[in-house]
């Protein structure tokens, strides 16, 4: 076996990650999907000829952490290596082989050096549409959610399979964009393959497996060392989250033994008749993500990085939903794996865990402009980030996935709605020595002159982001209109001139709020994160008329509260 000293290993490893990043960038540049462009809802991966993952682009969202090796294994089972030729392109969007829902297309290309297979490249992107009812929560089976492709050859020896493209074209709403995005995947894999071959030429490598082993073994060793510093033990957590008809139970048991972590989801509730079921690949990805955040966040994703992490879930639970359960919105349950596991590790790694995050608020708006033109758009709003020991949660910061602000000026142009207000929501962050991130208040008015239909998909409306280590919970997400509160998963029909108010949830706090530094509380008062009443109620601070904390009186108040 080839040997690589730490210097060579560093240089060659980083170059491979850089090639994967380059593939990502060329994919982003040529993609039509807003999810890909703004949210990096994509992944690019390099493998050696045995299908062992060597590198993944840095920019992917957590749901793609370490899923690709299984996807490739499924592909190679149906299209074995000896049946592959240069110019072949293999694809699937099967939720159980890929990344959990039909929207994600997985495209693979074998890399040949001469006539010898030396590796594979793969890309995954969220397509703009996949036909069917899409992400509608009314689906009860995957069959309603759109086209489902088994592992198939999109191209054979560089000849595109026209049948597959025609099938897509006839079944989706925006065919040019969907076909464009599929072709963007095809061409980015060509970029990746070419770069991989040049890399091998430059460093005189006949094959990648020796280097692949060195990289993966090194990553595994680093992880092993890091996991070994976590106290051995069994750590458990169970939470409830908002479901469609009834709350959903999520449970996890984490066993840390020396260099190994085993995560199991026994105790989790069963699948539901809505598009929020989670295929296991997605559960596994979110689990890997949490372990990575808690151990070596900067470690590039590869097979070795997850070698010491075992994830299991019973087949009858919502985190291992089997076909044909619908899965289009699998993230709305799957994202809670992050706070579930963080909570389990609170005792073991108090200095590293993050208090609960507040999740995003995504809602769709359908209606018509004054001139009759159709309105159909998605709005995104972030709640507060969870606090960690030593650092406050930031206000309005998305987690565990990502998004980008919808500017008021853009939104009003797009929908002719009016945003009356966007404001940091005081007292919404969970109190703590380290305060949870604040949510925000947003007020929308229907100025379209027509009825507007808002479909809500809000979470944290019943179950708040919990504080850790004595920290308080964040405020709940709320939807208000004249006449009262609206169900967070319902619909709002907004008459012309009517307004709706949305309160984004706050993140959980960390540590005893009575221990919070007065300088910090004063800054929160000045910056609008905490009101005077909130400072007294949550932080035991006495605030004078000018909004300045009275240190002596606060000392006494805190002492009397601590005494109780």
């Amino acid at each position: 076996m080839q040997r690589f000293d730490p210097i060579s290993l560093k240089i060659l490893w980083d170059r491979l990650v850089s090639i994967a990043d380059e593939v990502v960038l060329s994919l982003v540049r040529t993609s039509f999907s807003i999810n890909v462009r703004e949210g990096y809802d994509l992944s690019c991966i390099l493998f050696d000829h045995r299908g062992r993952m060597i590198a993944q682009g840095n920019y992917s969202v957590p749901s793609f952490t370490g899923t690709a090796p299984q996807t490739l294994a499924h592909m190679l089972r149906d299209c074995p290596p000896e049946t592959l030729s240069p110019g072949d392109i293999v694809m699937t969007n099967d939720p159980w082989m890929g990344t959990g829902h039909l929207f994600d297309i997985n495209v693979m290309r074998p890399v040949f050096r001469g006539d010898r297979l030396v590796g594979y490249t793969m890309s995954v992107t969220h397509l703009p549409d996949i036909g069917g009812a899409g992400m509608s929560s009314t689906c009860t089976e995957v069959y309603q959610e759109g086209l489902r492709f088994p592992v198939c050859k999109l191209a054979e020896k560089a000849r595109m399979n026209q049948m597959i493209l025609d099938l897509v074209r006839m079944n989706v709403r925006v065919p040019e964009q969907v076909i464009g995005d599929i072709m963007a995947n095809v061409s980015c894999n060509e970029v990746g393959g070419r770069a991989l071959l040049e890399f091998m030429d430059e460093y005189g490598l006949e094959e990648l497996s020796g280097l692949s082993d060195a990289i993966n073994d090194h990553a595994a060793a680093a992880m092993r060392e890091e996991i070994a510093t976590i106290p051995d033990g069994v750590y458990e957590n169970a939470i409830q989250i908002e479901g469609i008809e009834a709350p959903i139970e999520l449970a996890a048991r984490i066993e840390v033994r020396g260099p190994d972590i085993a995560i199991d989801f026994t105790g989790t509730g069963g699948p539901v008749r809505a598009s929020i079921n989670v295929p296991f690949c997605y559960t596994q990805a979110q689990s890997y993500y949490v372990v990575k955040c808690l151990t070596i966040p900067s470690l590039p994703n590869n097979e070795g990085a997850v070698r010491h992490i075992a994830v299991t879930a019973p087949e009858d639970c919502i985190l291992n939903a089997q076909p044909p359960w619908p899965t289009g919105g699998r993230h709305s349950v799957g994202h809670f794996i992050v706070p579930l596991l963080m909570g389990a590790m609170e005792q073991a790694l108090p200095e590293r865990v993050q208090a609960d995050v507040s999740m995003m608020n995504v809602f769709s708006v359908k209606g018509h402009h004054r001139d009759g033109e159709e309105i159909s758009s998605l709005f995104f709003l972030a709640g507060g980030f969870g606090a960690l020991s030593g650092i406050d949660g930031r206000a309005v910061t998305p987690a565990p996935s990502n998004m980008t602000v919808v500017p008021t000026e853009i939104w009003e142009n797009l929908t002719s709605m009016t945003v009356e207000k966007r404001e940091i929501l005081a007292d919404s962050g969970g109190p703590g020595t380290w305060r949870g991130g604040s949510g925000q208040e947003t007020v929308f008015r229907n100025d379209t002159g027509n009825l507007l239909d808002l479909a809500l998909m809000g979470q944290r409306t019943e179950f708040p982001a919990r504080g850790f280590a004595g920290g308080g919970d964040g405020a709940l997400r709320r939807y208000l209109r004249e006449g009262g509160e609206v169900d967070g998963k319902g619909r709002i029909l907004l008459a012309p001139g009517d307004s709706v108010v949305m309160h984004e949830a706050g993140g959980g706090g960390f540590g005893d709020p009575l221990q919070r530094d007065l300088v910090e509380v004063q800054r929160d008062l000045d910056d609008g994160h905490v009101t005077a009443a909130g400072a007294t109620r949550d932080y035991g601070c006495v605030v004078g008329a000018a909004g300045v904390i009275d240190a002596a009186a606060t000392h006494d108040l805190r002492a009397s509260r601590a005494g109780k």
Binding site: D5, P6, I7, K10, I11, W13, D14, R15, S18, D21, E22, L25, S26, R29, T30, F32, R37, V61, P62, E176, G180, S187, V191, H218, A219, A222, E226, Y289, I296, P297, S298, L299, L381, A382, L388, G390, I391, V396, T397, P398, S401, N402, M403, T404, V405, P407, T408, E409, E412, N413, S416, T418, V419, K421, R422, E423, I424, D526, D527, G528
Partner: protein, 696 residues
Amino acid sequence: MGYRLGVDIGGTFTDFALIDDESGRLTVYKQLTTPDDPARAVLEGLQAMLARDSVDIARLTSVIHGTTLVTNAVIERKGAPTGMLVSRGFRDVLDIAMERRYDLFDLRLVFAEPVVPRALRREVSERRAFDGTVMELLDTEGAVAAARDLVENRGIEALAICFLHSYADDSHEVAARDAVRAAFPDLFVTASSEVLPFMREYERWSTTTVNAYVQPLTNLYLSHLEAGLAGLGFQGSFLIMTSSGGTVTADTARRFPVRLIESGPAAGALMAALLGEMLAEPELLSFDMGGTTAKGALIRDGAPLRKYELEVARVHDFKAGSGVPLRIPVIDMIEIGAGGGSIAHVDERRLLAVGPRSAGADPGPACYGRGGAAATLTDANLALGYLVPEQFLGGRMALDPAAAERALDDGVGGPLEVASTRAAWGIHEVINEDVARAFREHASEIGFDYRQSAMVAFGGSGPMHALRIARKLRIPKVVFPAGAGVMSAIGLLATPLSFASLRSAPARLARLDANALTAGFAPLLDQARAQLGAAGIAGDALVLTRRLDMRYVGQGYEVEVELPEALAADAALARLPALFQTAYEAVFATSFLENEIEIVNWKVEARGPLPDLARNYRQPDIGARAAQDYPNTTVYFPERDEHLACPVLDRYALAPGAEVEGPALIQEDESTSVLGPGERATVDAYGNLIAELAEG
């Protein structure tokens, strides 16, 4: 004809480049920067240089100035106490910001604080709709009262006025600005619609607040310099370099100081483009590496690529997303935290990492002997023999090789169990990889094929790394310009007066007629003509370029389309769909979509005549002095895995036509060019050292 002087303030030195426009003779000069009062070094250096070259200041027709003043003020938060008036309901736009994480795995990520704290922001009753129509009239008295509160109770010296949709109609902002100015004549007031009427409130307002924040100190500084220059008898024009690669008058700089950010690197990129023109290399990579950062720019068809976005003052390892976003016209530059001071360490992956933390100039690399213990890139380059200890900075500063070796062993070699030479090579090569990666990724982002292009390498550390980086990128040619240490100052002499601006005004092509097309550009053209007219440029001397950001309706991604010069409005309108399609295909490589097209942003760039530096250019005269006869040294090359005997040549003694064969070090005062075994370079007629790389 007279003389023109370029003055560029850097972290360590203030650089001067003087050209005699008649003969083309170019001379350079360096003076230590005076951080407490940067103008002092400018004025002292100017006098010393003119005295040395026997030039009467009365013969100086212009002084072109590049300064890091504004950049530093934002990074170090040394601007004025600044207030902000916003549309009611939108006080927190600067805190809500992008609602985006720039790193998904690092949960302890931090973001730059806004330059205007929340307590200094006030809401004003007013509101416009997206099409500019008034929904609520401006409460002018309320605006003045809010400003009064901020001035009298909060001591603000500058104010940013930021209302929603002011790109569509600026009259509320203008009315508020005028009323506040009338009440407080000494207050510096900036309205968001005058800085850049761009649609997206967070970025526009962020830009506006930074402009206000740096206005008082920029005004003071420029007045100080103008008075100083006048006192010395200077009667020519005083011009300031901007980040877009053009200069502006001092008055324009006072109104839009945010446009001065990153102007030094812009001048360097511009100079690289000029060299490309002289060498008939229209496609270039400009590579500049100094003490703390490396900067790169891609040059296509002879011009650096431009854009309208920039992020400054990044607070988290140079990561994009951790700084303050600005929308101003800029030369598109890559910045990475890689330079001579970059610190090498073993990271959490248990492997070598270099930077982005830097030892800076103080304490600096271990070999400076100023108390720095961390191993830096400069220590590695010294250990490899690429720096000769006795010749650093022209012999003005001794380096301590033993200290470098110790730091390399302690910081890298020991923990990773490799010899110190191997550690040093690793550090050198990691930086090469980092720079190559940044170029590769940027090229991939914008679809730029650099394989037939050349690289221009400059800055204190650039020429030491250039050939290795070029090999990684498969770039066949590297240019080591004469005067690599003062490229930005020379670049200032190549810069035209210019003014660029942009406004957002969405318009569907199908509903646009020729009059509307003309009207869309009119305010931008008026503004550009006024700005350059004030500097005496009009008529044929004024070059105007019109561009549009266009997209398919409903898509989030715009492509830029340039309108052919002097094309009448109706003809231009007819050509637009085809121009858009061509530009679109260049990006997406896809067939035409039958969707409706819309215009989003309108852009005008105006410039005066290009200074005639290219025709006149010749090797900078660094100062007559006898050729140095340096002894051989030993230098490490990985191909042989040992230190080889290597000649050291005096760059100033290499005449045009001279040929150099590697291994060789070519020494100039502020930088060293490294040629590996078998590599060849020749000196061209302008004094540039040019290396051609054979394939492989």
